[in-house]
């Protein structure tokens, strides 16, 4: 069995809540059939108090085997490097000390969510008084709690399953790949995110694609149009497969009528502009699609705007289709 030890610190617990939404099979069955078990998980295990502390101490001293250390939430190093913003309950030692000790014994260390990967929202207040950081990154700078040179027992850096929150599939696929064959460096992107989900853009599979093609843009929340030009959507730049995997059945941010805020990227929490507004220079969005020459984008946008069909133009600024697709009387050719 692949034994997983899971701890939470400076975060909201939402990555665990999201994981519980795994489907189609119940999480516990899915994991146990794949040969994965939780040695301890703060929200799911039976052991409490002294039983839990004994288990953690044994693991941190190398007396109890485990394979994967999953950390959810940012590492709070403050105030003044003391770690007192999070002392483990019942124990009184900083969580940051526990994570350092446990990481030394883990074959793999997984940062679950953008807080433990890069610092996330915990690191977002001015001057970062919490001294929050990720396991191996502080924002987009390598380092973090464990240091840029850290390698787990299997020789890998921290695997950043980034997202705010993570999709349950990103965690399950990562754990199941570990159980099956492990990760090698080529399985990760330049920010150490698993390519399992980070080799796509949120834009891929976006149901607003027709509006994007014609630059038929939404102007206000609930409009059906493309969210990129006015409402701050970063789906053409953000790495994740949200519109291919989809969330809670048929959902995603764009499907929910609101922009992608690029929550899998370091620093997403401090975009330097209001989240729901697209920053522009001379009327043109600053954040153009990844991999696309700017001049071509501007030229194509101008052309496609002038070619926008009435249906797409009018539906873009309504919250339900007001013009239906035409029916051809001659049959489809």
């Amino acid at each position: 069995m692949l034994k997983v030890l899971w701890l939470q610190s400076g975060g909201c617990g939402g990555c665990t809540q999201s994981l519980l939404c795994a489907e189609p099979r119940p999480l516990f069955e899915e994991l146990s059939d794949a040969g994965i078990e939780f040695l301890w998980h703060p929200a799911l295990s039976g052991e409490s108090g002294d039983d839990a502390l004994t288990l953690l101490e044994d693991a941190a001293e190398g007396r109890r085997d485990f394979d994967v250390l999953c950390i959810e939430g940012a590492m709070l190093r403050g105030p003044r490097g003391s770690g007192r913003f999070h002392l483990l309950a019942g124990d009184g030692r900083p969580l940051t000390d526990w994570v350092r000790r446990l990481a030394a014994w883990a074959r793999w260390v997984l940062a679950i969510g953008s807080c433990s990967a890069f610092g996330g929202f915990s690191a977002a207040s001015r001057d970062n008084p919490l001294e929050a950081c990720g396991l191996q990154y502080e924002n987009d700078e390598p380092g973090g709690l464990l240091g840029a040179g850290f390698r787990s027992g299997a020789g890998l850096p921290v695997v950043n399953v980034a997202g705010c929150p993570v999709h349950p599939g990103w965690v399950l696929d990562s754990l199941e790949k570990l159980a099956l064959e492990g990760f090698v460096p080529d399985d990760l992107d330049a920010l150490q995110r698993p390519l399992i989900y980070a080799d796509q853009l949120v834009h891929h599979g976006c149901p607003r694609n027709e509006y994007y093609e014609f630059k038929a843009s939404a102007h206000k929340p609930s409009d059906l149009g493309c969210l990129m030009e006015n409402l701050g959507c970063k789906g053409t730049q953000a790495h994740a497969d949200c519109n291919v995997r989809t969330w809670n059945g048929n959902g995603s941010c764009a499907r929910g009528g609101f922009p992608c805020i690029s929550c899998t990227e370091p620093g997403f929490e401090q975009p330097g502009h209001p989240f729901l507004e697209t920053p522009k220079v001379a009327g043109i969005p600053i954040g153009l699609p990844t991999d696309m020459p700017k001049a071509w984008f501007v030229a194509l946008a101008a052309l496609s705007k002038s070619a926008t069909p009435k249906r797409v133009r009018e539906n873009a600024v309504a919250d339900h289709p007001v013009v239906r697709p035409a029916i051809r009387k001659t049959g489809l050719k």
Binding site: G11, G46, L87, A89, S122, A124, P221, N248, G249, G256
Partner: protein, 473 residues
């Protein structure tokens, strides 16, 4: 006297430590410590007001939507904007989906596994309950999780995703529901109802919602197959209806335009809820102390070396008094006879809190069906408005765990101040400037604890369904 420190409490949301003073094996005083600090109020200051809709859900992964709803309500208040009828129904549906999913998670994953502890090995119900509810192994989890997941598919339609949606807007919702989706959502509710009626209750929801007293409830549960009846059998055997009494004052902000707001105390009629009575005190928190302040005037400034401080949690008070919030408070304030009867007989208790949560599931699911029926696809889901450059707003909602308030002030188009009073901040509050203990601190006094004691303390703590990450926002 001897002091013991209990923690970590797992199967609560976030990290929690309780320090207990014992005499002859019984608790004489309890102090509740929230050992994690988050700093979200500072994260909000200086940002564009609408950014609150992105930031606040990330306070909490389990009450994420409630945080969104409170921010949307505060922004709507500041902009003097009312949601459209569809928008209002969508907001109710999104909030109810989270609240009911949270009640289910609490019952199956957080609360019931404590009955599988070996300390209860001799009880007549132990074998069956331990097999069904053991943490991570029991079959109940494998049935409840898919039911929860299927139910949360409502969020895929209504909110894009859960947790951390941006769909809730001051004017309603960013996600209009189509005619086809309305039909699909009703099907999801029928599927969830089937799980509840066949597994959780062993009876139809109307029958459960119609129970009027403890006597009725116990008679109804006698010999009935179902997880709620199984809980009642164990809880009654252990006398948990007499354990966990706290402040005996209940506060509810009112929910879904259906559950009434108010403040209840023994022997008095429900008092009208007055937001002006809410104030917070930081006497025993590692935060700068400025006495009892209304949230709109409150500040959160770290003071890590403060003497006599023992938590990161402030102490909210209503008219200076300690108050309990949550499903029991909502149902007592709203006047449901079953909740009122439990409280009249025994005061608040472990059993009453769990009963109130499950009662609420039985009451709210039919409301959700009615709200979906009332949606009019094609009509607006989101009213538009403009937020003034200078404005104040208050957003008060009911999360699964109780009343949640956001107090916002906007100056020169930016957030000047943002204060949050979360449900578990009420329930797990420390002592205030007058030395009054918080609800959990009261509820633990007199209980057996320490080596060899039954896990009664664990039941009482979890009966509040604490959310520590919200508490220490």
């Amino acid at each position: 006297m001897r002091r013991i420190v209990v923690g970590p409490f797992n199967r609560v949301e976030g990290d929690l430590e309780v320090s207990l003073d014992l005499e002859d094996g019984l608790v004489v005083a309890a102090r509740v410590n929230s050992p994690l600090f988050r700093g979200f109020e500072q994260i909000l200051v200086g940002r564009a007001p609408q950014d609150a809709l992105v930031v606040v859900p990330r306070i909490c992964g389990i009450c994420s939507v409630s945080q969104s709803a409170a921010a949307a309500a505060a922004l709507a208040d500041a902009a003097s904007l009312a949601p459209t009828p569809n928008g209002r129904l969508a907001q109710h549906l999104i909030q109810a989906t989270e609240n009911l999913a949270d009640h289910l998670t609490h019952f199956y994953l957080f609360f019931m596994p404590d009955f599988a502890r070996s300390a209860y090995a001799g009880r007549p119900w132990f074998g069956a309950v331990a097999e069904r509810f053991a943490a991570g192994r029991g079959q109940a989890g494998n049935e409840a999780l898919p039911a929860r997941t299927a139910f949360l598919r409502l969020m895929g339609f209504l909110a894009g995703k859960w947790p951390h949606t941006l769909a809730l807007q001051p004017g309603g919702s960013s996600r209009a529901i189509s005619a086809a989706e309305r039909i699909r959502m009703l099907a999801i509710l029928r599927q969830f109802r089937t799980f509840l009626e066949s597994r959780l209750f062993g009876d139809d929801l109307t029958a459960v919602a119609g129970l009027e007293s403890e006597v009725d409830l116990l008679a109804w549960a006698q010999g009935r197959a179902g997880d709620f009846p199984a809980f009642l059998a164990a809880a009654h055997d252990l006398g948990l209806e007499r354990i966990g009494k706290a402040s005996e004052r209940f506060l509810s902000y009112g929910a879904y335009d259906s559950f009434a707001p108010g403040f209840w105390q023994p022997g008095q009629a429900v008092a009208r809820f007055d937001p002006g009575q809410v104030a917070e005190d930081s006497r025993h928190a590692w935060l700068a102390d400025s006495g009892l302040l209304p949230p709109a005037a409150g500040r959160t400034v770290v003071d890590v070396d403060k003497p006599d401080a023992y938590t990161w949690c402030k102490a909210p008070r209503y008219g200076g008094q300690v108050a309990e919030v949550g499903a029991l408070a909502r149902q007592v304030v709203d006047g449901h006879p079953l909740a009122r009867d439990y409280v009249a007989r025994h005061g608040a208790s472990v059993t009453a809190r769990v009963v109130a949560r499950l009662l609420e599931i039985a009451r709210v699911l039919p409301m959700m069906e009615a709200w979906i029926n009332a949606l009019v696809p094609g009509e607006s889901f989101c009213a538009q408005g403009t937020l003034p450059e200078e404005a104040q707003g208050v957003g008060l909602v009911e999360a699964a765990r109780g009343g949640l308030g956001h107090w916002l002030s906007v100056k020169r188009g930016r957030i000047e101040c943002y204060q949050i009073v979360a449900p578990t901040t009420w329930n797990f509050s420390p002592r205030d400037g007058d030395g009054q203990p918080g609800p959990l601190e009261l509820a633990l006094v007199g209980l057996p604890a320490g080596e060899g004691a039954l896990p009664t303390v664990q039941h009482v703590v979890r009966s509040f369904d604490p959310c520590m990450v919200c508490t220490v926002h």
